[in-house]
């Protein structure tokens, strides 16, 4: 995962550096005063209303005041201007979209990078590379590491039993994720009971029963067609009576366009009032990931997300988009079909990895 994005970020950095260097060369060739002034902060950049970079429009007129440039040059510095970056920024946007970063989120990242870079001065001896890297890092950290919290600690510290309900569309891997997390908690010395709140899908009971048997976990389930809220509620009661630490509540996959089923999800949320709701989506999802994350968050407020099938995906954009849009962290990545194929999501390591640090 993320290899594709990494390659593209690398090439953006090279392009942006080249573009800035080129501009710098022109600058030093054309102007040559030698006033001495104190290196002030550059003047604020003109407000850019046009957020999208268009490589075709070649507008005249500088985005940075002449005075700033003069000052900067005088102090042996060079100012990066917006038009120097248009083409690399456009390419960056395409690269992000190509990595499945949702378009709105890609624009947020772009705005951040632009804000960081444009009007920035650097000493002629500095490398532009450092600036570009820093700008990218700032932008990425800001969108990727949204709302991270210590999940393990949150679970341990909450009053037991801790109830966690899993939501998401069909086929993203909610049940498999629950099985993996069942093992995750048991390994950390917490007892677990699973509630099969998917009373709809054919084969759902059989699927979760096999997982529970394989992992030696207690399963609470009702007949197909039963009330999902009641199943989870029963599991919580069971946990209370038997001193179980964690209740993992499955729900039927549903598309966010079904008002009835989303209403049912809200009902489960109201009746069960879980300590945590985790939204499960797949890493291979494209632009739609954001939309459904929002809709699920509306129906039953989400505390974090799990991205599955990360091993099938080399883009990684969905992870970035979902966190940014819900304001809630990505907590885990599903990386395979085995019970141990679950990884904590570490945004800082990811950004470092993306930027080759």
């Amino acid at each position: 995962m993320f290899d594709g994005l990494k390659d593209k970020l690398d090439s953006f950095r090279e392009d942006a550096e080249a573009a800035a260097e080129e501009a710098a060369d022109e600058e030093s060739a054309s102007d040559g005063s030698d006033e001495r002034e104190r290196p002030d902060r550059p003047e604020p950049v003109d407000d850019q209303t046009e957020a999208e970079a268009d490589p075709d429009t070649d507008e005249d007129g500088s985005t940075v005041g002449r005075l700033t440039r003069a000052k900067a040059y005088a102090t042996g510095r060079i100012v990066i201007e917006e038009e120097d970056l248009e083409t690399p920024l456009w390419d960056l946007e395409m690269a992000l979209v190509e990595s499945d970063v949702e378009m709105g989120v890609a624009e947020t990242i772009l705005d951040r990078v632009r804000e960081e870079l444009v009007g920035e001065t650097r000493k002629q001896v500095d490398t532009t590379a450092g600036l570009v890297r820093e700008a990218l890092r700032e932008a990425l950290v800001e969108v990727i590491s949204v709302g991270q919290f210590d999940f393990d600690e949150a679970v341990v510290e909450a009053e037991s039993p801790v109830t966690i309900v899993f939501t998401g569309v069909n086929g993203v891997g909610k049940t498999t994720t629950i099985a993996k997390l069942g093992r995750y908690f048991e390994e950390r010395g917490l007892s677990v009971v699973i509630a099969n709140g998917d009373t709809y899908r054919a084969g759902a009971n059989e699927q979760i029963r096999e997982h529970a048997d394989a992992l030696g976990l207690k399963l609470i389930s009702h007949e197909q067609g039963g009330d999902p809220a009641a199943v989870v509620y029963d599991a919580v009661e069971y946990a209370e009576a038997n001193d179980v630490d964690v209740v993992l509540g499955d729900t039927a996959g549903r598309l966010h366009t079904s008002d009835d089923l989303m209403e049912q999800l809200s009902k489960i949320d109201r009746v069960v009032d879980p300590d945590m709701t985790l939204f499960v989506d797949e890493a291979v999802a494209g632009q739609d990931a954001v939309r459904r994350a929002e809709e699920f968050d509306d129906a039953a407020a989400v505390d974090g997300a799990v991205l599955t099938k990360a091993d099938a995906d080399s883009q990684g954009g969905a992870a970035i988009s979902v966190a940014q849009v819900t304001g809630k962290p990505i907590l885990f990545l599903g990386t395979g079909q085995g019970y141990d194929d679950l990884r904590r999501f570490d945004p800082e390591a990811l950004v470092a990895d993306l930027l080759d640090e």
Binding site: V97, D100, A214, T257, V284, D288, A312, S314
Partner: protein, 459 residues
């Protein structure tokens, strides 16, 4: 429904052209830009988007609009043609004995698709059987068995055998008398070498006439890699796009079609076994552009009517145009509509009602309607045969009785009677009309629907 958002901003840009007879370079640039955005937001691969928009831009500037054609229609036609060209025709699925193997990522909807396709073949008069070879995912066997029961089609699976290749072989033998064999496989992804080897083995064992790649409409840019690897492994002969009843646009399918040099075969549009449609390029693009799609509506209506006929031989929708319109007729009509699927899906296919018009309706308008239909059913259950045949006999006293029997408010009973009177009045106007009149009227209705439906270039 599905592809509507995609259409709306594009439609806005195209509407700016209304009344113009020539398009300027600027107009074309704006449109191409909107198309690019729309397609990227629909998960179409970036390079495909570039190719497509280049072609549209070139043609829109070079080609003269034929006389009498507005600039808007001219550009729209180019957009439409290029899109259809890219998507291609639907995969040819001959109605004859054959073996089809399904492949795809975990959770893309292969098992559901297998049952849906079996149902589809059975409606076409062939005897299908589904062979479930997924020995990995817990519950896969039970899910497939239950889905096939709902679809009323033959099923083979063996929960005690753990070699999928053996199950595939046994399954073909055990379902020998079936005409169409649909082989379902375990979910896997392109980077799992051992699983890719396994599906190659299954493929050799069943030697399918075609292998279909089942793909979630929400898949992102990874569609390219996945479809390339599956194509290399088993040769993808067509694509099935699932979960199109969500908001995902299904642009990944275009990438898959381009990558595997195949086409789209089926669309999955819901969780029940009937929620399957044959892919139809003009319809797909029409929906993509936020236009109504009469052809698919017609297909659904036809299918729903055929089913109603099966259930009740003595009822013929044509009777509506002659003689009495009773409450019984109204119920049949409601049931037929119910079978066509959720009302909003049906509405979306009607020219003039899809796209723009749906945007203006409050979100829950369709739900209310469906709920109302359901409560009408309950009311009718509490009526006598005489009342159903001749609702005029229902006065105040009977209304009270019916309401009490149905456990609803009296106003619901009155609403039902009012609805019936309205429908009866409408039908009276149809009665006595010749076919030509009817067509003229439909055309007129199409024209009023924003001018995009019947009179547009794709009518």
């Amino acid at each position: 429904m599905v592809l509507d958002d995609l259409g709306s901003s594009l439609r806005g840009t195209l509407d700016d052209l209304r009344g113009k007879s020539r398009v300027s370079e600027e107009d074309v640039k704006n449109i191409v830009r909107e198309i690019q955005r729309s397609l990227l937001q629909a998960d179409v691969a970036v390079d495909l988007v570039t190719d497509l928009s280049d072609a549209i831009e070139r043609r829109a500037l070079e080609e003269e609009a034929p006389s009498g054609t507005s600039a808007r229609d001219h550009v729209l036609r180019i957009v439409y043609e290029e899109m259809v060209d890219l998507i291609g025709d639907s995969t040819e699925i001959p109605l004859e004995p054959q073996t089809i193997m399904l492949a795809g990522l975990q959770g893309s909807g292969k098992t559901t698709t297998a049952a849906k396709m079996a149902w589809w073949f059975s409606k076409k008069g062939l005897r299908p059987a589904v062979i479930q070879t997924d020995t990995f995912r817990p519950g896969a066997y039970d899910q497939a068995a239950q889905m096939c029961e709902r679809a009323e089609v033959a099923f083979y699976g063996d929960p005690d055998e753990d070699d999928p290749v053996q199950i595939a072989r046994d399954g073909l033998a055990a379902t020998e008398d079936a005409e169409v064999h649909i082989v379902d496989t375990a979910g896997r992804h392109a980077l799992e070498d051992d699983l890719i080897d396994e599906i190659e083995e299954i493929e050799r064992a069943v030697s399918p006439d075609r292998s279909l790649l089942v793909m979630d409409a929400a898949i992102g840019q990874g569609a390219r890699e996945q479809s390339r690897e599956f194509d290399d492994a088993v040769g993808v002969g067509g694509v099935v796009v699932t979960k199109l009843d969500g908001t995902a646009k299904g642009g990944g399918a275009l990438t898959a079609v381009d990558q595997t040099d195949s086409s789209i075969a089926f669309l999955g549009t819901g969780e029940t076994v009937q929620d399957v449609e044959r892919f139809e390029p003009s319809g797909f693009v029409s929906r993509l552009l936020g236009m109504g799609d009469l052809q698919q509506l017609a297909e659904r209506v036809e299918r729903a009517m055929a089913e109603t006929d099966e259930a009740e031989d003595d009822w013929d929708p044509e009777d509506l145009l002659e003689g009495q319109f009773t409450l019984r007729d109204m119920r049949k009509q409601m049931q037929a509509m119910d079978r066509m699927g959720p009302l909003d899906q049906v509405m979306d296919m009607i020219p003039g009602l899809g796209g723009g018009m749906m945007d203006q309706l409050p979100d829950d308008a369709m739900d209310v309607t469906q709920e109302r239909l359901r409560s009408f059913e309950v009311v009718m259950d509490s009526m006598t045969d005489g009342e159903l045949e001749n609702p005029r006999v229902v006065g105040k006293e009977r209304t009270v009785r019916i309401a009490r029997g149905a456990g609803v408010d009296e106003s619901v009973v009155r609403e039902l009677l009012e609805q019936h009177r309205m429908m009866e009045r409408t039908l009276k106007q149809f009665q006595g009309m010749g076919d030509g009149d009817l067509q003229r009227m439909m055309r007129k209705m199409g024209d009023q629907g924003g001018g995009m439906g019947g009179a547009g270039p794709f009518g």
